[in-house]
């Protein structure tokens, strides 16, 4: 509660806050919740309880001149719950489609999610393709057959290029590239997203729309 009044105070001076609804999709146990936990609390848990239904979290993120408040819906990964996903990605402005770079099946599933989002979600949704668990292949040499890596960077990048997605390889465990994903998404979000009219704070804050488009921060850091 105290924070809220502080927010209001701040808003009259600070750049406007844009609310962005973001949904995470991907196969079970690829690290969706861990990515969110890393982003929201800069923390990592080795054994995180599986998500059922969807978990809701928020986190603010400042990109250049503006502040984005992510309203994150972290969905369940098990195939059984796939039919619930539309509930959560409806009206989402951003999506993270996550796979595990050591599990080829999870990459196939990611492909499906991208397709479904393009067909069913809002037209202007910003999608980032995220290959997680980079920590498992960090020490690998190229061309090493014993590598745990089963999905190459090139494959990921290729899918991203074909479908017009942002692409990152991350590690929720080591925090590698995690913030970059959310910053990258934020930079791609249009300045005046479709906001729910009922959100009073958001409309209060959105006065100045003249800021230019932030520089595109696509591509991964590798």
């Amino acid at each position: 509660m105290e924070l809220k009044s502080y927010d209001k105070y701040r808003m009259s001076f600070a750049p406007p806050t844009t609310s962005v609804k973001l949904v995470l999709l991907g196969e079970a146990a690829v690290g969706k919740s861990s990515l969110v936990l890393r982003f929201v609390s800069n923390d990592f848990q080795e054994n995180k309880e599986p998500t059922i239904g969807a978990a809701f979290l928020t986190q603010k993120c400042t990109i250049g001149e503006r502040t984005i408040k992510y309203e994150i819906w972290d969905t369940a990964g098990q195939e059984r719950f796939a039919s619930l996903a539309p509930m959560y990605y409806r009206n989402a402005q951003a999506a993270l489609v996550v796979y595990d770079i050591t599990k080829p099946a999870s990459f196939i599933k990611a492909r499906h999610w991208v397709k479904e989002l393009h067909e069913q979600a809002s037209k202007d949704i910003t999608i980032a393709l995220v290959g997680n668990k980079h920590d498992l292949v960090e020490d690998d040499n190229d061309g090493d057959d014993s590598s745990l890596r089963k999905v190459s960077i090139e494959e990921g990048q290729k899918l991203a290029d074909e479908e017009g997605l942002l692409f990152f390889e991350t590690s929720a465990k080591t925090a590698y590239n995690v913030n970059e994903v959310f910053v990258g998404i934020g930079s791609k979000i249009p300045e005046a997203p479709l906001l729910k009219p009922q959100q009073p704070q958001a409309t209060d804050g959105r006065i100045d729309l003249s800021t230019g488009t932030a520089p595109a921060a696509d591509g991964c850091a590798c």
């Binding site: 146990a29 054994n47 309880e49 059922i52 969807a54 809701f56 309203e71 959100q199």
Partner: protein
Amino acid sequence: MNKDPHKSLFGDSIHNPSQLNHSLGSDVHEWSDETIEKVVSIRFGGDYNLFIRQLSRDITQKEQDIILLRDFYLRRERQFYKVCASHANLTHLEVDKLLDDIQQKDTVDDVLLDMISVAMKEPLAPTLKREPPTTISSNLAQQPDIEAHSSESERRGWLRGWIQSPNDLRYEWVRSTSSLHSGSRTPKGTEDAPIVPPLELVSMSQPGDSTILDPEELTNTDPYGFITENGSENPKRQPGDGSNFDARSSVSQVVNPIDSSYATLQEVGRRHDDEKQAIEARWNTFCNEVMKLRNERNQEETFVPTFGLKALELKTLDRQISFKEDSYLKRLQSLISKQGIPPGSRSKFWFELSGASNIRVPGEYNRLVELAKMHANDPSLIQSFNQIDLDLHRTMPSNVYFHNSTTSLPGPLHHRLKRILDAFVVLRSDIGYVQGMNKIVGNLLIADKRVTEEDTFWLFVSLIDEILPTYHGESYFSPSSLKHIRNAQTELAQVQFALLMPKLYAHLKQLDVQIEFITMNWWLLVFTDICNLMELWYRVIDNLLVSDKSEDFLKALSLGIFKHYEKKLLSLDNYDDVYVLMNRNATRNIGFRELMEITRELERKIGKMEKDRGKRWE
């Protein structure tokens, strides 16, 4: 034991090659009619033709085995004559004559007794005493876990179990656990069981892990095994001994942290004891009455298999009563909503009320566990098995029974959880494993660690099959039920919520909160997540078991949680605060009794609404 089913000797065509081995065992003729009915309904979906076919398949299999054996011994015999000829210079005739002199055993019993007496002379494994299994009861004595539920007739007289005070129960359990303790104390996996008695007898105890379950040995944990150190890990777990009921509510005016003089403490203790005694007395009166009536009735009626609450026959008993409010069912519901089931007898009540005691077939669980092992790579099951393995180490990672944080090794209940989930996947391959089951079974396992793994399994099965809502005959966790559960959320949010709590509904609507996003998670997890106080979740199950219509109860409970936070929610002006508040830790400071009473009230209203709606449709 499992020969390739395709190589059936008499060309017996096996319809479904991927069908699991359903061999019935060799004691079918000794089964009671009930057991046969149960087996037919559980394994063969009630189809007696399939049952007969299976019997005949078993016979064919045995005949095949006999032919192979006969062949084996024929060759051996020939070999024997040759050996006799070459080593002792004995002719066929001489050998035959010598053999004929050995006394003939002409019944199977004689042969068995002979074999047993030979076996008796052999050195035995140190922990298991073995006696000739002339009677099954002598074996049971060494399997104390089974004792409690040994025979069908004993289970039918289940009320007896309630009335014996919890101390009696405890005595029974203590005996069973202590005798297990005296056995091997090495908490290894289950593989190293030295002697394997028949399936029916090992059914309940999984040697190995039962020895570890002694909460006293675990430091810094609450009775449910959650680490309480610093209170930071799980501040919401209540460290009470569970037998506390809601004595707190009346006691709270008395407790004063500053003035904690001896007299005050005594007063608190006395009040607590008084309340506890009063509750026990009410339970005892109730149970005595019901048992008396039942005993009278049982003499004149034959046993009809019924499940759960219906098996209580409370509704039938109620017909004899003119005052509705005094009905036995209402009294039981009221007892449970006010105090919950006394923790000492909770597991027994659960077992009966859920119908688990009806659907449990001795030995069946172990068979399923074995099948799960044999069919680990079965393409129709592998997805579920893989998901179970993924989720096992993610189940209650902060609980010492599931995860030892100092050694990073799986805790003792980890293996039980795996076996139960695996067995369920085999039993209900149409449902498979659904995330969230791990949490439910996990909670059931820590509810009462004296309850055997097998009983926990059946309790879980009956929760799914008998207690939780079903949709068009499909059980709660069936793939097709998901959309119905989702529809139920929409209906809950838009109809019942709007009608029963219009002010809060209007507020949430104005904030653009989607209520079904919140309740969906609760339902999919059967409230394990939101009711993360163990004692509260057990209360929820207590009440669920006696609810008139479980879907109404789940709806009422969902609304009840909102109702409890009404004031707080009305003060929020942002939808994400609502989601955060109603996510996970909502029930931290909830009064059990209060929540259950709100819920019961709402359940009544919802039931009435449904009825009225039904009338309007007519």
